[in-house]
Symmetry: C2
Subunit: 247 residues, 2 copies
DNA sequence: ACAAAAGTGTTTTTAATACACCCATGA
DNA sequence: TCATGGGTGTATTAAAAACACTTTTGT
């Protein structure tokens, strides 16, 4: 988080849980933070990307701005998923120190709106650059985080899992062209389960929103797989107005 | 909303979309508001129950407090579902006037966290009293609302429909003891669809969390129905860790 | 020729849907 | 005895799950 010149609203912030998928791992984008610990010694830890909102800024805009300032990306899948407003969510001395150092004012209570974002960080498609000491970290290897950011991250992960079960959002984490196996791996990793590849294939192809491309994998030491892409128009068109209930 | 003596945080509020079910209608609890309209003339409309939060109050607490002050009820199903933070969400003159009149200060921007609540208002179980000009209004007959409360209400309704499909929350709207037909009607009304009664019965009884009581309806001019109750323990116990996906 | 992942079909089981009549009660 | 909503069973269709081998490529 950089020092801001425009006037900020010190009561309200946004935090982004930004997910990416690469090398068969689900990753989250974290920012390294330098702070002064309880003993007055400089230390480092991680935090979620986030920022205060400016005085007349929409929350969604603040989240998109945060993401854009960090990655340079625009038009990213971004969705509000929760608010964190416990009065003592900022109470550790290290956190209070850090806020004072970065904002220049004493800040005690901040209500933050959490967003989750999905980014395609595939090898082939790295048309963005990270700034601000940001790095992708495997969700299973997230270190201790600042504030209540662990809680926020975990709630975001839950949200991702839930959405993945009910909406076609997995594609947001993949490049334009992907193999069905990659999609399956993505489901397996995020939902933390094993899926039968024949049944998976059958299921996703029965719906009509995956279109097979002429292109195949190249240079792989096995039978090359076809690439597919997601056809959102077809999806929106045959979206079932599911009336059933499953509780 | 009453004038508060304790110190409030004028940037943050909670609003509650409180649902109830009676006489086969889904209802929402609204508060009549007296305000001065654009022409300076006293007028009335409706708003959602809500309040500013106090300076060191948790958001969830503020929502529970709002609900309690209004109905006297405690331990009600209450869940945060969205934040509304557009900088111009309070912009109509009538709304600004009203805020000034009720709080005594000029307030322009308020970010509100919306909660939805489920209350059992069944005929038989009316162990609470409404205060503050509150009344139950059929969701299909909601008049114009203050601020962006219509948007909030509609998003809350969506949320209810979604939750109803995926979690056993319908019971929160019914008395302890209910007939299966009442439950079916509730689903039909909220999801706005028709369900086959044989299939409905089969489905809800296959799961094991409905327990038939010895008691039957009395004084009805037709074959009396058995009462059932929801067994949350059984539900939690066999909750399926659903791995499937349905998008 | 071997390793590695891609791709394919059938059977079984389970869940969803469609559909029509008799039952118990109060008026 | 009539009107009202309660309660039941079966057959059909669709979806999910289980399961093992052949194909194509690079090395």
């Amino acid at each position: 988080m950089e020092k801001v010149v425009r006037s900020i609203n010190p009561h309200l912030s946004v935090d982004c849980v930004i997910f990416g998928f690469s090398t068969s791992q689900l990753k989250v984008l974290l920012i390294q933070r330098d702070y002064i610990n309880e003993e007055g010694i400089p230390a480092q830890d991680y935090k979620l990307p986030g920022d205060f909102i400016t005085t007349r800024e929409d929350l969604d805009h603040a989240a998109a701005r945060t993401l854009n300032e960090l990655t340079g990306l625009q038009n990213i899948f971004l969705k509000q998923f929760a608010v964190f407003g416990k009065p003592d969510r900022i109470s550790r001395k290290a956190d209070l120190n850090w806020l004072k150092a970065t904002t220049g004012t004493d800040i005690h209570r901040v209500v933050t709106t959490a967003y989750f974002a999905l980014i395609n960080i595939s090898e082939s498609d790295r048309n963005y650059a990270l700034k601000n000491k940001a790095s992708w970290i495997d969700v299973n290897r997230v270190p201790e985080l600042a504030f209540d950011h662990r809680e926020i991250m975990e709630k975001g992960l839950h949200h991702l899992q839930n959405s993945l079960r009910n909406e076609p959002i997995g594609f947001e984490l993949l490049p334009e062209k992907f193999t069905i196996r990659k999609l399956q791996t993505l489901y397996q990793v995020i939902l933390n389960c094993k899926l039968d590849n024949r049944n998976f294939r059958k299921k996703v192809l029965k719906a009509k929103y995956l279109v097979q491309l002429d292109e195949k994998q190249e240079g792989v030491a096995h039978k090359p797989a076809y690439f597919y892409s997601f056809d959102k128009i077809t999806y929106d068109h045959n979206k079932k107005n599911s009336l059933g209930f499953n509780f």
